[in-house]
Symmetry: C2
Subunit: 158 residues, 2 copies
């Protein structure tokens, strides 16, 4: 893990519409990709190096679910405030735009679309965000948009 | 794994709009949930039994990304035809509707929304589908809608 940001987000109040947070980066080894996919997505281009070499991808690529999970880890490590996080009701528009290969460093960002206080529960609210993953050439390889619930700062006027 | 269906789907042609395929079921242990979340989603309600017991969930629950990955495994084992699968460009509308708990058997289904032949590549096409996960009471706990690319049967008229 390199390029580790400290975003100092503690409560819903610290997310701000239009703001982008760096999430750092990850690199997956071929062994990690094969291990994840053997458990969850054992398609040949994720688990069988010889078959993957013959496929349109030219080699092992990560399961899209591995890519989203590894990106989630960056969000937990570098952004989501542990004390204030109340989970997520869902994600929209996961886009696996380009294959994710072993031994390549992928960098992620978290863009805040909206921050909304709950009408029924005044101590909390929702962040709608788009998380994006980039390869070393700056090309977007994956993105998803979704919602997270967070507690407000005590005394918040959100 | 129980209730293992054999859907005998080989090519794009075997998906049919309006058809629902059973995907069987999975059960996650608390150790599996904690292991996955320790790697990918180390929030307290996924990894710390004592903290989870104090949370609104009342105990350890699976990371939503674990739930989607475990459901993907059912799709690969019981539906997706290995020889014809060309991967997926994305998913929409992942909904984590209810918590997924350890030691509970969850059953999944795959509903075919549309089957579309590619205009540019006549040997293949796309299936738009909604995968749903149910608890033993028949309540929907998770769903996602997405697209998979598959080869057509040789000589297909799709």
């Amino acid at each position: 893990m390199t390029n580790i940001p400290d975003n100092r987000v503690e409560f819903l109040d610290d997310f701000e519409a239009g703001k982008e947070f760096p999430l750092g980066s990850f690199t997956l080894t071929q062994d990690e990709i094969i291990e994840f996919a053997t458990r969850f997505d054992p398609q040949s281009f994720h688990v069988d190096p010889a078959a993957a070499a013959e496929s349109m991808y030219g080699g092992i690529i990560a399961s899209g679910w591995h890519t989203t999970a590894a990106t989630m880890r960056l969000m937990v490590d570098h952004l989501i405030p542990a004390e204030a996080s109340l989970g997520s009701p869902g994600m929209d528009q996961i886009r696996w735009l380009k294959p994710v290969f072993p031994d390549v460093e992928y960098r992620a960002t978290y863009f805040v679309n909206t921050v909304t206080g709950s009408k029924s529960k005044p101590d909390r609210g929702a962040v709608n965000s788009t998380t994006r993953l980039f390869n070393p050439d700056g090309e977007e390889v994956m993105s998803f948009t979704g919602v997270g619930f967070f507690l407000k700062r005590p005394g918040s006027d959100l």
